[in-house]
């Protein structure tokens, strides 16, 4: 054994050759794969077809207009989950290996239950799990949850932004003192997630909050709304899901509660939530991170290059540009941007989930980038880091005019500094329970 045989140069050459062979074998197709755990049948099909339709159409746009991301074509396949947890797990396991050699970039199940069930699997398999606008609140702390990204808005930020908006309307957060707010929530884990944080905010600002539960599915709400009428709150926060939303609006009208004093949350904000209530929904306010509309340049591009070419994913072209569809487009933009950022570091080739994770963690969408993407007003400014996997925390408010949503506010920020210690505490408890050593984010940079 001579020293020359172990020269660093030779070692590096051998190593890179080995790497090239390995990557050459594994990533022959020069494609980046997105496994889609979609749902097109079942009770939540409206959300699923819209979201995944928008996501797929955006990827088609990238392929058709730009020839992929830096020459790496995007590819995808679908597996039906019906929003059912174990089907989602099966789909995850089926698709995680990639497709024809194209490695999986990230999973986007759009279901709280499936996200919870695949959280540890994703971490073990090193595939980012994207839960845009929903998911586990404490996964915002990326030092404990390296592979989970509740992009844009976690449930706590959502509530905080609504309270800030109510404060704005009242003329300042200090004016909230003595006000009465009622939350009407869906009787499920999703519905209950924000009760503790609302109580904290109520104590901080001196308003009173009453939580009223609507049992699933929420087709009968007479007693709840009579109760609301008795309380006479200034605002009702509607934390609904599916059929519960139009029923709430109809019952509010019946009991004489004005619709423009009801604020729908992020899952009570679509056309399908307001339209079925007819006139009762007129004036209904809701939050959104992704306004409906077809005037954004990126949507015009999709229309020109994908939909007009007969390749659009939606069966019903009238749904083009609605709330769910645009959420899918936003999700597509963020996923593709993560790939792009990761490519800048790791090279213009198909990337592993681990590399794409780095891209997500370094997402930085500023106004300049939004301009380039043609998504000003559609996507908020977003800057992620090792410690912060949410990044945005802002919402816009929109009002239903009887036929469509009209955006009525600029971006309203959540009080994320206030929420952060609560999130960190919860994440630390999880880390302790699971025996995870949190990453040191100061070192990661």
């Amino acid at each position: 054994m001579t020293a020359s045989r172990f020269s660093p140069r030779r070692l590096a050459a051998t190593f890179s050759l080995g790497l090239a062979l390995a990557s050459g074998a594994a990533f022959a197709a020069n494609e980046q794969y997105f496994p889609l755990q979609s749902y097109r049948v079942g009770p939540y099909a409206a959300g699923g077809t819209g979201f995944f339709g928008g996501f797929i159409d955006y990827m088609q746009l990238i392929n058709a207009r730009d020839g992929g991301v830096n020459g790496v074509k995007l590819t995808w396949s679908e597996c039906e989950t019906e929003y059912v947890v174990e089907k989602g797990v099966e789909c995850y396991e089926r698709l995680k290996k990639g497709l024809n050699g194209a490695p999986a970039a990230a999973t986007n199940p759009l279901s709280v239950g499936i996200a919870y069930a695949t959280l540890e699997r994703s971490t073990a398999d090193k595939i980012p799990l994207i839960t845009i606008n929903h998911g586990r609140t404490d996964s915002t702390d990326g030092s404990v949850f390296p592979y989970v990204f509740p992009l844009q808005l976690n449930p706590y930020s959502e509530v905080s932004a609504i309270v800030n908006y109510i404060g704005q309307k009242a003329g300042g957060l200090d004016k909230l003192k003595g006000k009465k707010i009622v939350t009407l929530y869906h009787g499920s884990p999703y519905g209950k997630e924000t009760i503790p944080i609302l109580d904290i905010l109520a104590k901080k600002y001196g308003f009173s909050v009453t939580h009223i539960e609507v049992p699933h599915p929420g087709t009968e709400q007479q007693s709840q709304w009579l109760n609301i009428r008795r309380i006479k709150p200034e605002w009702v926060i509607l934390r609904g899901w599916g059929v519960m939303n139009p029923v709430a609006l109809k019952t509010a009208a019946k009991t004489g509660f004005p619709a423009d004093r009801v604020i729908g949350n992020i899952w009570s904000n679509s056309e399908d939530d307001a339209a079925p209530a007819g006139d009762a929904a007129k004036g209904f306010i809701s939050i959104t991170t992704h306004p409906a509309g077809t005037d954004f340049p990126v949507l015009k591009d999709i229309d020109k290059q994908v939909v007009k070419a007969g390749k659009g994913n939606l069966q019903d072209p009238k749904r083009f540009g609605n709330v769910y569809y645009n959420l899918g487009v936003v999700n597509g933009i963020l996923n593709v941007e993560a790939v792009r950022i990761a490519q800048a570091k790791f090279g213009k080739r198909p990337l592993s989930g681990e590399e794409v994770r780095w891209g997500f963690e370094h997402l930085n969408i500023d106004n300049k980038r939004l301009q380039e993407l043609g998504a000003v007003g559609l996507v908020q400014n977003l800057k992620l880091s090792c410690a912060d996997h949410e990044g945005g925390g802002a919402v816009r408010f929109q009002q239903w005019d009887g036929a469509r949503w009209k955006v009525i506010s600029d971006w309203v920020q959540a009080d994320r500094a206030l929420l952060r210690p609560i999130i960190e505490k919860s994440a630390a408890a999880y880390a302790k329970e699971k025996g995870i050593t949190p990453r040191n984010c100061a070192k990661e940079g």
């Binding site: 979609s38 097109r40 049948v41 099909a45 077809t49 396949s77 679908e78 597996c79 039906e80 019906e82 947890v85 174990e86 797990v89 099966e90 995850y92 396991e93 089926r94 995680k96 290996k97 709280v112 239950g113 919870y116 069930a117 959280l119 540890e120 699997r121 586990r136 609140t137 009787g187 499920s188 884990p189 999703y190 209950k192 997630e193 924000t194 009760i195 503790p196 069966q315 329970e433 699971k434 025996g435």
Partner: protein, 356 residues
Amino acid sequence: MLLLSETGQFSTRYADDRRVFRLRQARLGIIALLAFSYLVVPLWASDYWLSAILIPFLVLSLAGLGLNLLTGYAGQLSLGTAAFMAVGAFAAYNFQLRVEGLPFLASFLLGGLVAAAAGVVFGLPSLRIKGFYLIVSTLAAQFLVEWALTKFGWFSNFNPSGVITAPPLSVLGVDLSSPAGRYLLTLAVVTVLFVVAVRIVRSDLGRNWMAVRDMDTAAAVIGIPVARTKLLAFAIGAFYCGVAGSLWAFAYLGTVEPHGFDLNRSFQVLFIVIIGGLGSILGNFLGAAFIVLLPLLMSNLGGSLLGGVIDPGDTENLQKILFGVLIILFLIREPEGLASLWRGLRARARVWPLRD
């Protein structure tokens, strides 16, 4: 099919006649199958096969067995299967959480026992009512349990969204959290409980169950304690379901929320039992295979054959139609379930090439 020939196999002792597998080939077959499942499968099967197909298949077979003991053997109709699974899962979780240093398997056992207690409570109406009326009262268990687990945060350790996550899986210091480890854990628990179930249905208790099932008045006349027999059926059936629930939560999904054990799950297990065969042990495996594997097979085939040709949502609906048609065809052809189909095939094979 001379493989199944009985030539040269004589029973010389009564014990030989009472064996579970009377045929030497059957005994060898079962040993080969066990060896294959314990030794070959964990080494060769992919993650997908282990954690998305085989584990849920085994767990649902076990839940099916629990319901089969109760409904197929003791004749007590129940739609509370998922409720008992939920009780087992959440009880095991709380034992694991609140008792320091409790071995993993012990919390499964305790979870099963709590489920058994719940089974006895919800089985009490069976002393007075039968048939469809009993279904309705077990349906109450279904709704009550789901409601209570959602309503009282204590059960899920005050997790704001009511979702519990499994603690790290390890038995005697061996880490079982890999797919193969979780598969082996599930397989071991299922094997033991199936052996116990085979013994139970061939014991006094099993015979009492069948007597009560066939006619409880007659059973009472010949001196069978009907009330005790029925309640034991509920307790043991619920115990099996409870353990299945723990496995579902801890070994399969790694997380669970109360809605994971809703009425649909009860129906799913009921279909497993009906399609597999009421009053059959093997039927639970066959039924679970039908319910778990067939949709997956169709979904995989549908994805590769029809992918891109027609809308994915339509593909999914087509599969549902096909699956429904298959169920109807099977039940017309063999109302007694797949187990009976299997029995018929075997009986023919034994005398082949002659005809019976």
